[in-house]
Every structure is written in structure tokens, then in C-alpha cells.
Symmetry: C2
Subunit: 428 residues, 2 copies
Amino acid sequence: MPRFIRSFVFAVVLSSLSLARGADSGAIALPLDPAQHKLIETDRPDGRYLATRGFVQSLMRNVRPKLAFDPNFTDAEFVRWKAQVREKMLELMRFPAVTSRPEPRLLSRAPRAGYAIEKWEIYPLPGWAVRFLMLVPDSASSRTPAPAVVCFPGSARSKESLAGEAELNPKYAYPVHADECRMAYYYAQQGIVAVAVDNPGIAEMSDIGTYVVPGGDRTTFSRYLIDLGWSYLGCSAFVGEQVLGWLRSRDFVDRQRIALSGQSLGTEPVIALAVIDPGIHAVVYNDFLCPNIMRATVSTKPTAAGVRPAANDLTHCIPGMWEWFDYPDLMASVAPTPLLFTEGGVTSELDRVRAAYRITQAPQLIEIHYYSKYQNPESRRDGVKIPEGLDAEEWYRYANVDPPNHYFHGDIAVPWLTRVLHPLKAKP
Amino acid sequence: MPRFIRSFVFAVVLSSLSLARGADSGAIALPLDPAQHKLIETDRPDGRYLATRGFVQSLMRNVRPKLAFDPNFTDAEFVRWKAQVREKMLELMRFPAVTSRPEPRLLSRAPRAGYAIEKWEIYPLPGWAVRFLMLVPDSASSRTPAPAVVCFPGSARSKESLAGEAELNPKYAYPVHADECRMAYYYAQQGIVAVAVDNPGIAEMSDIGTYVVPGGDRTTFSRYLIDLGWSYLGCSAFVGEQVLGWLRSRDFVDRQRIALSGQSLGTEPVIALAVIDPGIHAVVYNDFLCPNIMRATVSTKPTAAGVRPAANDLTHCIPGMWEWFDYPDLMASVAPTPLLFTEGGVTSELDRVRAAYRITQAPQLIEIHYYSKYQNPESRRDGVKIPEGLDAEEWYRYANVDPPNHYFHGDIAVPWLTRVLHPLKAKP
């Protein structure tokens, strides 16, 4: 070290240390005590942060999405706001303009007990072919059109798993909750035309990388989509939109009775489509209702290695969305479309969505079930402000989530959707 | 497995396999042969992909950024295009509106051999305090204002490392290339007022997480910034813009002669500011010139575990930028501002930037040095189309990058910037 630097080191170090004490800086020995560092704090009298993470934390604490739902909306305000949300969501989804494209193609059709299974291929954009399955109940015909539902699987499940079919690739055969997973199959049993799609990058939409590591490289192409101005959700919702458009042209489908049903990651295209497509007749939301801004803001407790909880992966990223709204706002905008939550979520947010159904004078059209573990209000921490400083497990506790029981709750969803789509023939 | 499923398995599996052969699907045994799977291909006669990764690959192959630089621009076209690029880049950077804020504060000042070192704190936005160092040569005064340069460090280096000061936290003391790293110190030796800033989330801007794992959690807050509608680069460039505004108000600084100098990650705010700030007098770009769309498109060779190269981290993500331009386009838009590349890059892209300087009749104002290893044109693969199917090492070979020698090349940059900023007193 050159002499002139050495001679200056002490002065600089001393003056800097005296200014930079506290949570904002200073070496911290490992392992650190997570509880001691769980909050992102500053000890400066002016309340400012030197740490960029602290500054971003203050941005998140203070963000007021411009199109947040207000439970005090009048009927007219709600209608105007709902239209604004739809317009903004359409903008954020950035669906590409479709000019001309080949007709969808039927790849196979096979009879089953009470329904037929068809495999279709559509061509949403140049360079792209997308396959999906359709379960057509024998009762559906052009003379007696049936209601329909488009089903979106959880993160690393296939359309085959939704349809109760054998996996095309054994890597996607997960025994846990495999039976419960058969969303499309169960709906078809009720005389509902059930379409099952894959999540982008998964199962038949996977690259070699994800075939060997299911789900493994979705974040790479999600990132490229973002750089290109699109997003993973924009992409999955676009597939859904294309399938919906095609489905409406089937003469055995009653286009007035088309629903969406999503599990986990699959709830995201469901939200997007329910918001932007005024023709959706009902929505099954099989995940906990998650206010993502709140989750990010309170999830700050580090590991003993000093790493705070990471953001969810890039498949969930819609750049700039928080400036406008969060998922509970979007779900509120869906009112008065019949809506089912099967896995509860943060009660205060569920209450906000409920308020939208009161405003639209349709309180009977929203139905909310929690995980069994949290069905009893006494088991929940309703009314408590969720504090910062949580790790993932603590967040789930406040959000009323029971991770091992996160699967498609057909026992709740199937009778509900049957009742909504088949009002005349639903069993009591 | 229910009987009716078992009985249907063979038909579906067979029909699907016959349609889904080849690169798009099918189980692949591990370890796989990376060479065999290095290209993202489809064997469908229609050229479409079932794999979303393949579809995104075709998007990347075909993207034509709307504001790409065209070497055939006339002078007038260039001027109009340059204004469009500036406007769009300003939009993408999304600098927040600054209303009122406290005055910057001098935290410390200490004399040094030939210059003084000052530590300042500014308050760019509510909740945020940003510190930087300024090296003020003794020769700078209000009667003889000196030129100035704002210096941006590489990824995990501190402002202290740029200034040749002791680290505030020993975690940031990297011995490798530490001497060469002292960008601000070297400029100050030449009578240039040199400001040194930190990268967001690093050194004095780090959270506990990054203190214990330098650089470790930047991707988390980068992601939150993206969800909020901003970006890491928007944030670092905003700091630079705020510092520049303040620097211009110093009476010992000649505001007509303010330059930018960036190393590695620090070249990104340099690019952004050089594009949007017409008052920048010169630019030192100490990294290889990287066409990111090309890099992402050709970097497809998987590991034996089936994982293709990941995208660079979220600190580099500006959502939607590829729709408009890539870094070489941005650098071309900087013409005719004096510009130095010290680490070369992809020759065809460097040639495009050079063309901008020909159009603006300033070919002498761009200077390009390659890494020593690639200084001799014979050692480069100029004129060869860079193929898809590369891993990181192969990409570096085509891009003329010598990673172990990626550091601040003061031997090239300091005399160049001295000549540009001190045209009268530069040594021959």
C-alpha cells in the first residue's frame, strides 16, 4: 500500500465509522442472530437509509397503487374503477397482435367412460405451437351445449395431470396429491367441457433443460421475455386467451357459461383473464389470496448466513404492476363474477374482495374457504397487523397457509362450479 | 391408477410420442451430452416450437429493436434518431420527480498529497441518503475550474476502492487488481476532480445481507424495484444524475468538461447517463461492448445436468429495453461525444459504433482498445457470424473477452481522458 494512503487510512476510517454506525453498515460476524436483524431499520435521526435495501423497503412500505380497490367505492365508482383496472391489466399483459395463423388442429381423440379426450394444437404466434387437452362429456352436443372451464395447473404439474392421464414424461409424475390434482377430469365428470393447458416451460412445453430438471430454467426465458417487454404471465395468459377464443367457437360449448379454474401458479393466468375478459362466467381460485406487496415488505428475516428471504421467482414478475394494483385489487375487480377461494389467505384482503361483492350487490356470489387448519376463526390471527421481520414459515402462519395441504380442493371446487355452471341440475 | 385411465394410457402415450419426437420433448438421460443439445432446435416441418424456450429463442432471433442504430443513417437521420433514443432511454430509466430535499452535506474533508478527499451525503429521495467521495486536486479553484469525472465501480467494488482508500468494511478488500482499480485516484493525479460512487446495495449502500455476502441480495431488491416499475440501473443512473447536478454547481468545476468513467457493472449507469445527459463531455467505457440480445441468443449450450446458461442477474434488467435498442445502439447514440473502449468486445458491434462517429464526422473521437490478448486482429474471429450453441467460455472467445484481465485499464484510460479533458496541458 503506498505511503500516502497508509498515512490517511486512520482518519478516513475513524470519520467514516462515526458516521456509519448501526444497522446501515458495519461488519457483522457469522452466523448472525436472525432475530436481531429481522427488521430493516435505520438508526439515523432523519429516518433515511444508506442501505439501498432499506430505501427500497421504505418504497414498498409507502407505495400506494394507483388503482387500488377502495371498499368505500360507490356502485358507480366501482364500475368506472373496474374498467380502468381492466384497461391497465390489458396493457400490462401486452398480448401481441395476432394477424393470420393456421387453424387449430385435432391431434387425437379417444373415447372414455362418459366423455372423450381430445388433444389439440393451436398456433398462437409465429414459431410457436401449443397443445392442450379437452375433455368433452358425452352429454355435450350442438343441441345441448355444455358449460366449459379452462384449467391451469400448479407450477410443475402437467396438463396430463389435470386430465388424469399418464404423463408423457415420467419426470412429471408426482405421486403426492396426484389424485386430487385431476381438476379437469373431475369437472368433466359433472358434464362440464374441461380444457387443460400446460404452464409455459413445463411438461410438453419444456425444453431439454426442464425435462431433466422440471421447472429448472423457466426463470431464464422469463427474464428474456421481460427484457423483450413481455412476461411469463403475459405469455401464459395469452395462451389462455387464445384457447378461450377457440373454445367459444365450439358448437357444443355454451359460450355464456365458460369458467376458469387455476391451481397455484395457474391462478395467475386465471386472475389476468378474469380481469380482462368480460365473458368469464365463474372463477375458481385454488391458492391463498396473497397480497404480494405486503408479503415482500414483511418477509425480511435473514438466515444465519445473513440472507433475507428472496423474492418469488421471475415467472411471477409483471414489471411495474405494483404501481397500479396487487392481486387482491385484481380479484376485487372481478366482482360480481362468481368467485371461489378454496385456500383462504390473508383475511383482511379476503374481506376487501368481499366488499367488492357487497358493492356490486352480489355477496352470495363469492365463497371463501380456508385450509382446514384455519377454517376456525379462532385458529387465525385476523385483525392483527402483519408485522415486518418474518421468515417464510412465519408469513404462512399470518397468511393462514398450510403448505403441505396446498393442492386442488376438488371436494369444494367441483360442487361449487357445478352449481354455478349447471344451476338447474346441480345436486343439493 | 383407475382402470379407465390405465386402459387409455397406451393410446395417448403412443399418439403423443409420435407427434412430440425430437428436441421438443422426450425424456433425456443424465448426464446428457452438451454438444448434442447445444442448439435449441425443432424438428417439426413447420419450424414451430412446442418448448416455450424454443419459442422465446425464435423471438430473440427475430427481434428488431425499433430504435436500432443504422450505419446508413444520413447526418440528419442520425440527429433525429439520437433524440428519439434519448427520449426513450429517459422513459425507461423512470427517474422519479424530485420535489424538495435537504441540501447535500459535507461529512468530512482531509488533505492528501496534491488533492483533498471529501465525503459527501446527498438526499435524492425521501427515505434515502447516498454518500460519495470526491477527490479535489489542489489545482482546482473557482478561478481555474478543473474538469471532472464521475467514476462508477465494478460489481462488488466500493467507492473507497476507486479512491484508493481503505475499505470501510474489510469484506470489500479484494487484493486482485486492487491497485489498478483506483480509477478516481488516478484521474485526480491528473488534475481532474474525481467523484466516486457506490453501486446500489454494495459497500456503504449494502444491507446486512450484502455485508456478510457481498453482492448477495441485490437481486432481491432489484426484483422489487422492477415490480414497483423501476430498475437497478434506473436507481444507479439516478444517483449519478443527482451527483452530476450537484457537481455542476461547484465553482471549482468546469461544467463544460465533465466526463463519466465506468468499470464493468459501472459502465451501465455510464451508458444511461451518456445517452440522456447532453452535457457529458467524454466517456470511458471499461468493459467489453456486449450486444446482450446476441449474447442471450447464442448462449444455449447446456451443462451435463441439462441447464442452459442463465441470464445475467437482475441488476442488469431494464424491462422492455430489447424492444427498443441494445447497448451498442445506445453507445452509437453517444456520438460525437469522445468515447473510449478499453476492453474491446464484439468487433462487428464496435464497428457499428464507429460508424456513428463517421456519420457525425468525428472518427477521431472514438478510440477502441481490445484486451492485450485480442489486440492483434489475427487473434480475433472478426467477420465470423457468432453461432448459437455456446457456453460462457465460448461466448467470451467470440466476444474477444479475456476474463482474468477484466479490470480498470488506467494505463489506457487515464492518458486518454487527460488528453480529452485537458487538451492544452496533456503530455505528448
